[in-house]
């Protein structure tokens, strides 16, 4: 694509010691993907390791088609859409709650670090929260099943234990990135605003918040990634609905096609949500290139 890639591509060809005619990039990519499916097919076909017990790519495609048409999955009577909706809701709600608490807390902690005056929230709040951070969110699963009930809301049963675990998973990346976003702001921007007549409220609104926003959004993006990891784990362990739940239920019932379909759907939704966050971030911060994922 860029000159650099082009130059490097040529260089490496020479490195092989002879001129090899190379297919264009798109074809190379397609070959890579095709090779992946071929390996999968071959592993199942020839029974490599335990692959003989697993489902091949063609059967997976057929199964995807069937379940997307609304067939109930994994011995229950719900379609895959219901389970996908449960998982998505849990991620969105868990990450949303995490953002609503972690962003204000992070701003408070970051600001008090910079100010050096006023209440030292950075010293009072941060160490306590930090001491909880090394505990992986999944390790909270047993404790949260113990403490958080299943609440029926409008005919749906909200599993607050799963929600809490997703919340924990997303909370720390958002908090840490918000704090860092505020701390990394060069003091001269604040000074510049003050010298132009901004009061402290205006400095926050026009300088500190927009400056920290790219970092905050990076945190939200990481939070969503961890949200999907934790939601799948929590659903496998403690769920009654959701994609993690059906994937593991399918394992118990030895419906290997559902396992594969579940993985594909989880992957697609995870990918889609990070793409959405990327789009939102690009829109909200047109001045900056944000690294997500």
């Amino acid at each position: 694509m860029s000159t650099r890639d082009h130059v490097l591509g040529i260089d490496r060809r020479r490195l092989l010691g002879r001129e090899v005619p190379l297919p264009p990039r798109g074809v190379r990519w397609a070959m890579s993907v095709a090779a992946f499916f071929t390996f999968w097919w071959a592993a199942v076909e020839f029974g490599f390791l335990g692959f003989g017990r697993f489902v091949g790519p063609v059967d997976t495609l057929i199964a995807i088609y069937g379940y997307l048409a609304g067939e109930p999955v994994a011995g229950g009577n719900q379609s895959i859409y219901i389970h996908a909706a449960y998982s998505t809701f849990r991620v969105v709600a868990g990450v949303g709650l995490a953002a609503l608490t972690a962003i204000p807390l992070g701003l408070l902690i970051g600001l008090s670090t910079k100010a050096g005056t006023g209440i030292e929230w950075n010293n009072y709040l941060y160490p306590g929260l930090e001491s909880l951070r090394p505990i992986p969110p999944v390790a909270w699963v047993p404790a949260s099943i113990l403490l958080f009930p299943i609440v029926p809301v409008l005919g749906f049963s909200i599993n607050t234990a799963v929600l809490f675990v997703v919340f924990i998973g997303a909370f720390f990346p958002i908090l840490v990135n918000t704090v860092e976003g505020v701390r990394n702001l060069d003091d001269e921007f604040r000074r510049a605003a003050q010298s132009l007549g901004a009061d402290s409220g205006q400095v926050f609104r026009h300088v500190i918040f927009p400056a920290a926003l790219p970092s905050i959004l990076t945190g939200v993006s990481l939070g969503i990634g961890l949200g999907w990891i934790t939601v799948v784990a929590a659903e496998i362990i403690a769920g009654n609905y959701g994609l993690g739940y059906i994937t593991f239920q399918a394992y118990r019932l030895l419906q290997t096609d559902v396992i594969a379909v579940g993985m594909v759907v989880i992957g697609v939704l995870g990918y889609a949500s990070s793409a959405i966050v990327q789009r939102v971030a690009d829109y909200a911060t047109p001045w900056s290139d944000i690294e997500t994922s």
Partner: protein, 260 residues
């Protein structure tokens, strides 16, 4: 001044315990308080079951993480350096990346073998599933950061090396590899964190180690042990991240702000 700051931090951490204590006193009877957990902890410190779980989980993380680094770093450097190689390999890897490692668990249990090994007192069942899940957790962050590390190196460094007479492999050895190291290090720190996340999930589901200990404490009704497990996992996770950071910083003396 400094003393006061440490005192405030101490207050902060102590207040977590206080909040916990209050919650346990007025909250649901199933929630054990800090005292019950502390006494359970002390009791567990004398139990071989506990140490078995600690050693097993640590070895699993160490093994999986090492495997992820040994495969992920060279692969990432190569993909980043050689565009053609990257074109042939990366798209296939990208297909797998969005699937959270934990979603591989049913697949792993079905497909991957499990081998029993006995080392004198401690008997292990080496579950390839848990290793594989933990490996996946660490692998992708390490791989992606290695690729980004190479791609982020300014082309002019390579040109400078070439102009000074470096051959291709010398450029790789003296420019590409060290230039990508800071990013590789970042990937390893992130990877270590995710290794623990996925290890705990895999252990809860398919058995063994601290994850299983924590989960079976819940199913068996010995609730304080849940918190013993959580705290132990937290400490081990923290220690392993610190080790990775320390090793990284010691390898990067030229980075600004690296202090060892």
């Amino acid at each position: 001044m400094d003393g006061a700051r440490w005192a405030k931090r101490g207050v902060s951490i102590a207040s977590i315990v206080v909040v916990w204590f209050v919650a346990a006193s007025i909250g649901p009877s199933t929630l054990p308080g800090p005292v019950a957990v502390a006494s359970a902890f002390v009791g567990y410190l004398g139990e071989p079951v506990y140490w078995n779980a600690v050693v097993l989980s640590s070895l699993r993380v160490l093994g999986s993480f090492t495997l992820a680094a040994v495969i992920g770093i060279p692969l990432g450097l190569l993909i980043g350096w050689n565009v053609v190689f990257g074109d042939f390999t990366f798209p296939a890897l990208e297909l797998l990346r969005p699937v959270p490692p934990i979603a591989w668990i049913p697949f792993g249990i079905l497909v991957l073998p499990s081998v029993a090994i006995s080392l004198g007192v401690i008997g292990f069942e080496v579950s390839a599933t848990v290793i594989f899940i933990t490996f996946l957790g660490a692998f992708f962050p390490i791989l992606l950061n290695a690729i980004e590390g190479v791609r982020g190196i300014d082309e002019e460094y390579s040109r400078a090396a070439h102009s000074l007479g470096a051959a291709d492999w010398q450029t790789f050895r003296h420019v590409i590899y060290p230039g990508a190291l800071p990013s590789v290090h970042t990937g390893m720190v992130v990877g270590m964190g995710l290794a623990w996340v996925n290890l705990v999930a895999a252990e809860m589901i398919s058995g063994g180690g601290l994850g299983f200990m924590t989960w079976s404490a819940y199913t068996g009704g010995s609730y304080p042990v849940i918190f013993v497990g959580m705290i132990t996992i937290g400490i081990l996770g923290y220690v392993s991240s610190t080790i990775v950071r320390y090793i990284g910083a010691s390898q990067l003396p030229w980075m600004e702000g690296s202090t060892v």
